[in-house]
């Protein structure tokens, strides 16, 4: 279907200031959406209180209002501009909440506008725990035992069930504000009280806590014609219990069998169809590590931090496509802007591994509670791309700018064995390095798994990296000598250096491990031809030629132009 010609002017609602749970991803999404709409000849009106955004540039939107994001000012903008449509799903939870309030107050109708993209009814079904649970029951998708609680007296039923631990999630909040895991009655009452006070609708959901289960996300798109695709799936390194925004995330999933992957993909597509989303959404699922049991955890009926990550991980511009869908286009009518040969209905394929690590503010707040759980604490994140998990993880670590460049951190190397165990058992910002330190001290993968429930696949990879580190250390004098000599070093040294670089060890770590000067290692590598090549992120695993020059490095054999 061609685009809806009755839409000539659209109001895009931004997400306001950067807060934990809502960072730059909505400037990225909003900017893409504005451009996508203007490509269709639509005039864009923008409201956002944050001027440090590209979307509020007059090059991106036609009419820019830097005004507070509340009903009062938004209504005045609508009254003055008379947009034909309002795009609510690109401004994060802030934008979505404001659009919902405007619609519920009758302001959208009053000025002859309408909400574009995913209908309000679908948004409600996705966001209201009760409606969502009902819908999942109807379509036969499993949801964990749960109770909606609006006042403390309703805690009797969950208490009677005898299920422990329980997880408490407030409705309509950012980044899980006010949620938590309760192991006993006192904790349940305390967390519930806090959650109720922070929820806009004074509502929390209490649910069976799936301790040790895997957390997997699918990014899905659907158009009004019911065509639906998955853009990519992502797997959390940290099992259930850690907010996705605070978890290390890997795309595509690394530890799922094909059957599991397909089972969860099918469920995600079924859910986006049942909800009637027109645009993008994010489905979070929990998978048992021991069986094919899974539960649907939650759906975000809008672009999100995860969709920004998925876009950058695949090259598929989710926000752009969502904006096109919102004005009536179907997936098969939208170009893939990366290849310019394929269409938006092609599912991306990845021939590389992507790792995201959250960036926490604990360097600023040394008194803060550094444990991570269901309440997000990260202010930002980094992403890295490489051919495999190990080098991608290495790249992400040194992107964090927290004074750590590799597998070793000062803090964890100073910890006692007991402290290390604690840091592995209770998730915190230091856990990754506590694990590598434990492996260095000879702790078995099985033991770390039983403490953390992190999938043994990841732990074995980390173990391999630590073993390589040990090998480098054992060869330190040979590497040091090679870095200072003119002649070609022995073949085993060359091979070790090559393997180290393929596993992502930065020269700085090699320098720390061997005592060689970092720049001397660089010179040695260049002399030996151990230099990176650059590959293209092309959405299609090189099936078609990409026109967009988006590169990542790897120590592999062939450059892509």
């Amino acid at each position: 279907m061609p685009r809806d010609a009755s839409i000539k002017k659209v109001l895009v609602i931004g997400s306001g200031p950067i807060i934990i749970g809502q960072a730059a991803e909505f400037d990225y999404a909003g900017t893409q959406a504005c451009r996508a709409l203007r490509e269709e000849g639509i005039s864009v009106v923008l409201i956002n209180s944050n001027p440090a955004t590209i979307m509020t540039d007059t090059e991106i939107a036609d009419r820019v209002y830097i005004e507070p994001l509340n009903v009062e000012f938004a209504e005045r903008v609508i009254a003055r501009e008379r947009p034909d449509g309002i795009l609510p799903t690109l401004g994060g939870q802030t934008g979505l909440n404001l659009a919902t309030q405007l619609a519920e107050a009758g302001i959208v109708d009053k000025y002859g506008a309408r909400l574009l993209g995913t209908p309000l009814k679908s948004i409600r079904k996705a966001e209201d725990r009760h409606e969502f649970r009902e819908l999942m029951r109807e379509i036969g998708e499993p949801v964990p035992e749960s109770w909606i609680v609006e006042e403390e007296s309703q805690l009797d039923e969950p208490l009677k069930s005898g299920i422990w631990p329980l997880i408490v999630r407030p409705a309509y909040t950012l980044g899980g504000t006010g949620g938590g895991i309760a192991y006993n009655e006192a904790e349940l009452r305390e967390i519930t009280r806090r959650g109720l006070s922070l929820s806009m609708h004074h509502q929390v959901m209490i649910e069976r806590y799936l301790a040790g289960w895997k957390e997997v996300e699918y990014e899905v798109m659907r158009d009004a014609n019911d065509t639906a695709i998955t853009v990519c799936n992502m797997e959390n390194f940290d099992p259930m219990g850690v907010h996705t925004g605070d978890s290390i995330v890997i795309a595509p999933s690394q530890t799922l069998s094909d059957k599991e992957y397909q089972m969860l993909r099918t469920a995600s597509l079924k859910i986006i169809r049942a909800l009637g989303i027109e645009g993008g959404c994010n489905v979070q699922l929990s998978l048992s590590p021991h069986s094919f049991d899974y539960y649907v955890i939650e759906v975000n009926p809008r672009v999100s931090r995860s969709s920004a990550l998925a876009s950058k991980a695949t090259g598929y511009p989710i926000a752009r496509v969502a904006a096109k869908i919102a004005v009536g286009l179907h997936l098969e009518e939208i170009d893939n802007a990366v290849t310019r040969k394929t269409l938006a209905c092609f599912e991306p394929a990845l021939d590389y591994c992507v790792v995201k690590i959250p960036r926490w503010p604990f360097d600023k707040f040394n008194v803060a509670d550094r444990r991570i759980s269901t309440q997000m604490k990260a202010t930002g994140e980094v992403m890295a791309i490489d051919r495999a998990f190990e080098p991608a993880l290495h790249k992400a670590i040194r992107s964090l700018e927290v004074g750590i460049y590799g597998l070793q951190s000062k803090a964890s190397s100073k910890m006692s064995d007991v402290e290390i165990e604690e840091a592995i058992r209770i998730p915190n910002d230091e856990r990754l390095w506590a694990i590598t330190e434990a492996l260095r001290r000879g702790v078995m993968v099985e033991e770390i798994h039983s403490l953390s429930a992190i999938d043994p696949w990841f732990l074995r990879k980390l173990k391999g990296m630590v073993e390589l580190e040990t090998e480098i250390k054992s060869q330190s004098s040979a590497i040091l000598a090679a870095s200072e000599a003119e002649e070609t070093p022995p073949a085993d040294v060359v091979s070790l250096l090559t393997r180290a670089k393929r596993a992502g060890f930065p020269d700085r770590s090699l320098s720390d491990l061997t005592g060689a000067v970092e720049l001397q290692i660089r010179k040695l590598r260049k002399r030996l031809g151990i230099v990176p090549v650059y590959k293209i992120v092309d959405t299609c695993a090189a099936e078609f030629e990409a026109e967009t020059p988006y590169f990542y490095s790897c120590y592999d054999s062939e450059n892509e132009q």
């Binding site: 202010t379 790249k395 970092e518 990542y552």
Partner: protein, 539 residues
């Protein structure tokens, strides 16, 4: 088709166009937020507009700079010297731009310079001159530009000596800091010794700066210089007095309380500094205007784009990053149609306000000080100061209460000034609750305060009152008494948990009163696009 400047349809790299690499700013963190991504993207656009192929290196998946069609080439890579040098080896660009990616990018200036890479804009030496405390102080004294008295020290004894020379209170901090980390205002020798012992790692390699804490207004300017001419698009005046980190202060454009004499001092010092440091592109300078002497003293300079650049760009209509990028490429300010000096004020008034994420960070003390705590910022624009303040307050999440109940707990040093502020709330019809000392003081000056129990005085205490939902506002100023502060921390955390706005600076409270008055005045707030504010066509 409408498109962004320099947004070409053909993204295939030309073999003939020259290439320049723009270093991005990495993950969003406190002290380095989205504004640097804004700057990086504008730099890329300006480079493309000038006919260069713009290459960006960044690792943050949330941003516009890492969108696949922002630059001619995107390298999704870590921002370490090794990874960047690898890209430079492959691309062989004309050089790199490090001014827009915050401290992340500026920190790469040295290793890249040492490898013989050309840094566009201010040279590595110019950057070092601004960042190296000793070299910079020599420049200031050579130019006769005042700065707060103080010195760098490497042990506790030296710190105590310096402090007794210049007099307390002193501002102490490690010499290399980002976003004011581990910075404190110290009032007495005992606290200085404690700071030197516990708060920081001191060594000859990592000296501590001990500076006179100057009581006065803080002011911030961004300067674009081509080495000869020097443009100041605008001055932003902080609303909170010196001592609150610039990233956590509210700030207003144009300044509301500076005399022409002080403005002239600021323009003069900024211009001479930019020339002496041979700035090519952007520089940010922070001043404190000493109340006692009415002199603008330099607190620090950042030889790069700052967090206020996107704000001033939108307020003044000067595309600051674009102008600075063209300067770096060799086009003078004159050739771009700009002259030296302070750009004339636009008609609107804009207030920038910080936004915090304290609800997410259990145990973090929300009191404001020299360490930055905010995660983001917003802006309110209007034609009147009080209305712009109101918008900024609302947009930053403070639900401006027009009447209701408030609690005041004032440190002894603030009681006199604080009483004046509380009186105005009381006059607006607020019920005023206060703890012991504050309540008694307020009564002596004729404010009818209801006494509430302190935290350790049992049930029905101040925290219970905050949590009861009856309170609309808390004003809690910070005490230098650590014993009182332990309770203060708990009171402020309670306000976060209960969603009650909490102000720790009397200046913010005074600003809130102005905003409140605007709200109660019943007049309409302006509603205009950024372009209309600029054109002065707002009713």
């Amino acid at each position: 088709m409408n498109s962004a400047p320099g947004h070409r349809k053909d993204s295939v790299l030309s073999e003939t166009r020259k290439k320049i690499v723009v270093i991005g700013s990495g993950p969003i963190r406190i002290g380095q937020g989205i504004e640097f991504d804004y700057c990086s993207v504008h730099c890329v656009w300006a480079l493309r507009e000038a006919g260069y192929d713009a290459i960006i290196v960044n690792n943050n998946p949330e941003t516009v700079s890492t969108d696949f069609d922002t630059s001619d080439r995107l390298f999704f890579e870590p921002l370490t010297s090794e990874d960047v040098l690898n890209i430079l080896d492959r691309e062989e660009p004309e050089g790199v731009i490090v001014q827009f990616g915050g401290q992340t990018a500026i920190n790469l200036a040295r290793p890249l310079h040492e490898m013989g890479i050309r840094i566009f804009g201010s040279s590595y030496d110019s950057i070092d001159l601004a960042e190296d405390r000793d070299r910079f102080e020599k420049v200031l004294s050579e130019l006769g530009i005042p700065k707060p008295a103080g010195r760098a020290v490497t042990n506790a004894e030296a710190a105590v000596t310096v402090a007794s020379e210049i007099g307390y209170p002193v501002l102490v901090r490690p010499s290399y800091v980002l976003g004011g980390r581990a910075m404190e205002i110290v009032f007495a020798e005992e606290d200085l010794r404690r700071y030197m012992q516990y708060a920081v790692d001191v060594s000859p390699k990592a000296p501590i700066l001990v500076d006179k804490y100057v009581l006065g207004k803080e002011v911030e300017v961004d300067v674009i210089s081509d080495g000869v001419d020097c443009l100041l698009p605008g001055i932003m005046e902080h609303i909170e007095r010196a001592g609150v980190h610039s990233g956590d202060s509210m700030a207003v454009y144009p300044p509301q309380s500076l005399s022409q004499d002080v403005i002239d001092q600021i323009v003069d010092s900024a211009t001479r500094l930019a020339r002496r440091l041979e700035v090519r592109g952007l520089m940010n300078i922070q001043f404190v205007v000493d109340n006692a002497t009415n002199t603008a003293q330099v607190l620090e300079v950042n030889p790069r784009a700052s967090r206020t650049v996107p704000y001033l760009s939108k307020i003044t209509g000067i595309p600051m990053v674009r102008v600075a990028t063209h300067v770096m490429l060799g086009k003078t300010l004159k050739e771009q149609g700009y002259v030296s000096g302070l750009h004339p004020n636009t008609g609107s008034i804009s207030v920038k306000a910080p936004v915090f994420s304290f609800a997410k960070l259990a145990k973090v003390d929300i009191g404001l000080g020299p360490e930055m705590k905010s995660t983001g910022e917003i802006m309110g624009m209007d034609t009147q100061y009080s209305k712009a303040l109101y918008k900024a307050m609302v947009a930053s999440g403070i639900d401006v209460p027009t009447r209701g109940s408030m609690i005041a707990t004032l440190a002894d040093a603030d009681k006199q000034e604080g009483a004046g502020v509380i009186r105005q709330f009381s006059d607006f019809g607020f019920d005023v609750y206060a703890t012991g000392g504050t309540a008694r003081y307020l009564k002596t000056v004729g404010i009818d305060a209801i006494e509430v129990k302190k935290l350790h005085e049992g049930e029905g205490n101040i925290v219970d009152l905050i949590k009861s939902g009856k309170i609309d506002l808390l004003i809690n100023t910070l005490s230098s008494d650590k014993r009182i502060e332990r309770e203060g921390t708990q009171i402020r955390r309670a306000s976060v948990e209960a969603g009650v706005p909490c102000l720790t600076s009397l200046d913010t409270a005074q600003a809130l009163l102005l905003a409140l008055a605007a709200r109660r005045g019943g007049e309409d707030f302006a509603l205009a696009t950024v372009d209309e504010y600029l054109a002065g066509t707002v009713n």
